[in-house]
Symmetry: C3
Subunit: 420 residues, 3 copies
């Protein structure tokens, strides 16, 4: 996964353009993608698909002709969606187009101007401090013209048409944790799910933030009801603990599944309520759709100093963090796939487990194993009102242990699958 | 407000009598009052209006003829409703009629005997200690006879007949925080509301504790259903933080509004559940009426050492505390007046706020302003199930910010008022 | 109660056999018992009544002929339900039949093998360590043959056929806290209840753990619906604080009554949710029956180092702990017996308590007595929706005070019993 992050890092992505297409080509080498091109001007919900932006070069030369800001060094140097410019101007005038972080003088900020035609440069504050007065040359060799917005889908077919949506944004240029890490985890999760025969159909969406999910929602408005659970993956690789942001409804199966996996994982983690600010869950959880989609990150949106700066580079993303996020996603899919309701067929008193080889023969010991406790919990609570996840939550046992106990009891004929 | 407290302080109030009438005259100079006189013996709910009590003088002279206890020095010296007496008796016999605070020897307690005919004096315990044996002269020049119970109402008319009740008791003699402070805050709140054109009709009640509110309830039994929200104001001026005691129902709009204002004010405060002991909320929240009336105080009923003693004097009431209580009441009325339900007219995805000048043009920054967050919250939660107060509570934002965001969105045509 | 513990301690009890019969004879000297004998092989729910086990002697002799393990010294030395054996074998072979506690080398463990025919000895680990290699003689003089399972009931008749079940297990050999203490408390509680004319019929069950309650449930399947409340009593005499384990439903009257008594007792205590592991509540709370039965202990099941070892002897049981558990049970029965619903007949405003001699005449004091507060709470909350226990819980007052206040108010004609 970290290799993918490194490989995608140099590309200049935005909400449209060839950087996104190139990114999707590379992802497509790992999982087959269905790429969609949506023309500029297309009405999508309350929005319109913007013009397509591409850039070849950009720089600022000081009075001596030295390049003091250079797109070739980092694509963060140019404000996203900067219109073409070729001009000479005094520093005083240029300053209005320069963005820095005075509190983090060594870092380049990330800025965009998608919907207001403008141009600008982002640079280290220490560089700005070093600039001398005089006439500067400014060049932005970009095009902003009718074209397309590009996004892609990958589907792992399931035994049912009910879908799990995994969504990650593809619009950020050289920023590694946000969101190449999310892209890498999603890609690996898709490959791992493809080795199974899942109950759910898993739809992976790679699209630009906000306008991309809005475009997808507009074009799939009649089929979104298929989505039973969903996760937005972002900031999936930094060194912080995992954070789960619940869906707008707050108590959906995905909220409960992720919450359970995190609680029983022993990992440091946080779960927070939904708020209408962050990533594409903002769109999926808008009141008209109100989809059961949460957001899984490590450090949160705008929650770390390197966020949206040149400090968010491949070195900031840890291979073990990517693995940990992937494993968590995998465990969550296990709960979604395996949760079910069983019915205790011997509900009057406890059935004699020992006779069936399910219970230790020697009595009196005070150390009962988790497997035996899990069986007792499944028997006691499986009256048709509770699922295995309900049992696991009530018993404070890992879902895995409860699911295995239910299987043992089913094999012994003590419970049967129950679908009201 | 503090001037009013000082001016009313010397008057000898009780649950009936000329002290109450004089108090209402002075309040009437600030807000027009509708004064009611209810004859002795009138049946009011389970009670009867008692005889009217008036007192001119009272003292205790020691064997040397020196006045050791003198009504002229403090009206707390006489037990409220003491019957007339003129007698000579040894100290031993007199002691049975003397009330002191051994733990607070320098303070005069406040005692009454409204419903059991008796007489008595309250004095500093240190004074009692200094009394020598011998024959004492006791005089209480009072009258207890058929008359009237006096209370007053002031109404600020609103655009609807739904009412907000503000109630404070007028029966305490020279006690400043309890309850001249409540009277002063209520009077100022009435004057401030009169400068607006409120949605609710605000009814201010100045009446003696318990028997006064019972009398008012008895005489307004058929119209109390007009009362949508209410507050009992008492102990409104001491140096302690604000305390809100919820209504019996506990989750009414007034409970939520006061709770929200206190939570978002940054002020130290407490909110406590209803209990059937305290001020006139006892009557308003009796199960037959069960009105949505809470009680706002600073230090609580019987919750400070000076309570019901000569220590509760004008110096114990701080002008800034009176201001703070008034401001809190004002903010509460803002919530009551401005809370409403709006409907998001663009619920599928987020509407494009930037196009409408409601969102910053430069993207990528991580410092989003409260105003923008408030708009996102209003849009996300305004599905017809929530009011602006619901939104403010869920978003942990001040009601003010949410109400302004709703107005901006309404002006932009993105939401509309919604009345199911 | 401690004398009973000491008297019963030496008997070798098990889930069947003469030790149980002798135990019931002794209990029968204190309260009349209805003893039931259920034949081996009888089907009881999912189980069958096992063979009856009796033992006369058992020992292990070392190569020198010295008895190194002797049933006569402690009946814990033999694994419960050991089949007869008379053999000579080397220590290496014998070891497979020896059970010790390496972490508690000075204590004899308690072990059984009810449902897998086997034999074994339990001994101090330090004894095991001292054994020298060589040929050992092993004798278990027991019989395992068709017979009966024995349990007993004692009933304190009530004014109604609604029952309260008090259940304690009788299957443990020389273990004092688990469960001779529970037996002793149950016996005393029965004697104390017999001095009253209770509303409920109290059924005391003395039966072996698991198979005993299963047998009782099987034979009373059609009448268990009479059980309105129940308690399993165990570990009732150690020095730890009380622990209440709620019923499966978690919010039944017994759960609320015990919780209230513990909360208002000032005693250190714990209340924990139901789990399907512990004593016979496992059977009563199996989903088919789901009876409102909780479990009251001091230290919990498997919750103390002496648990199921020779350390659980009469010295481990404290007379004052037995008294404290008994008193708690008694207070719980008071709540069950006296809880009721009253209706405030004067719900508009507070009735004038003073006129009826229910309120102090002298006003102004800030120290109101609990009795008066309790009356105000009963009046305020008795609108037909709440029982006296509801009132006590809401008011944070002891049930006793609330019940007495309700009686005073009923005597004054201010409330009446209310049965919807």
């Amino acid at each position: 996964m970290h290799e993918l992050v490194e490989r995608l890092y140099p590309l200049c992505r935005s909400i449209t353009g060839d950087g996104v297409r190139r990114t999707l080509e590379i992802i497509g080498e790992l999982v087959p993608l269905d790429v969609h091109e949506v023309p500029t001007g297309t009405q999508v919900l309350d929005w319109n698909v913007p013009k397509e932006w591409n850039i070849r070069d950009a720089y600022v030369k000081d009075p001596t002709g030295a390049k003091v800001v250079d797109f070739a060094e980092s694509n963060l140097h140019v404000v996203g969606y900067s219109v073409p410019v070729s001009a000479r101007m005094p520093l005083a005038e240029l300053r209005g187009h320069l963005h820095t972080l005075p509190d983090q003088p060594g870092l380049i900020p990330y800025r965009t101007s998608y919907y207001a035609e403008d141009w600008g440069f982002c640079l280290r504050h220490e560089t700005l401090e070093s600039l001398r007065d005089g006439e500067y040359e400014v060049v932005v060799d970009s095009t902003l013209a009718d074209g397309h917005l590009t996004y892609a889908e990958h589907v792992v077919p399931g035994r049912t048409s009910e879908e799990v949506l995994i969504s990650c944004h593809t619009c950020h240029p050289s920023l590694a944790n946000d969101n190449l890490a999310g892209i890498a985890v999603a890609t690996q999760l898709a490959r791992r799910l493809a080795t199974t025969s899942p109950r759910y159909t898993y739809r992976f969406l790679f699209a630009p933030g906000t306008i991309g999910s809005i475009t997808w929602l507009a074009r799939n408005r009649d089929t979104v009801e298929r989505i039973r659970h969903g996760l937005v993956l972002a900031c999936a690789g930094d060194g912080g603990g995992l954070t789960y942001k619940r869906s707008r409804r707050g108590d959906t199966q995905i909220d409960r599944a992720v919450g359970h996996v995190l609680r029983t994982s022993g990992r440091p983690h946080r779960t927070v309520d939904f708020s209408p600010y962050g990533y594409d869950e903002r769109q999926y959880c808008s009141p008209g759709f109100d989809l059961p989609v949460g957001c899984l990150t490590r450090s949160t949106y705008a929650g770390y100093p390197e966020y949206h700066t040149s400090g968010d580079n491949p070195a900031f993303v840890l291979p073990e963090s990517l693995e940990d996020t992937l494993e968590t996603c995998w465990e969550v899919t296990r709960v979604l796939e395996e949760d079910r309701r069983v019915l205790n067929l011997s509900p009057y008193g406890e059935p004699q487990l020992g006779r069936r080889g399910l219970y230790g023969a020697l009595g009196g010991r005070s150390d009962t194993k988790q497997a035996q406790l899990a069986m007792l919990w499944v028997l006691n609570l499986s009256d048709g009102t509770r699922t295995l996840l309900d049992v696991a939550e009530r018993a404070c046992l890992p879902f895995r242990a409860v699911a295995e106990a239910a299987q043992s009891l089913e094999d012994a004929g003590l419970v049967r699958e129950w679908n009201p």
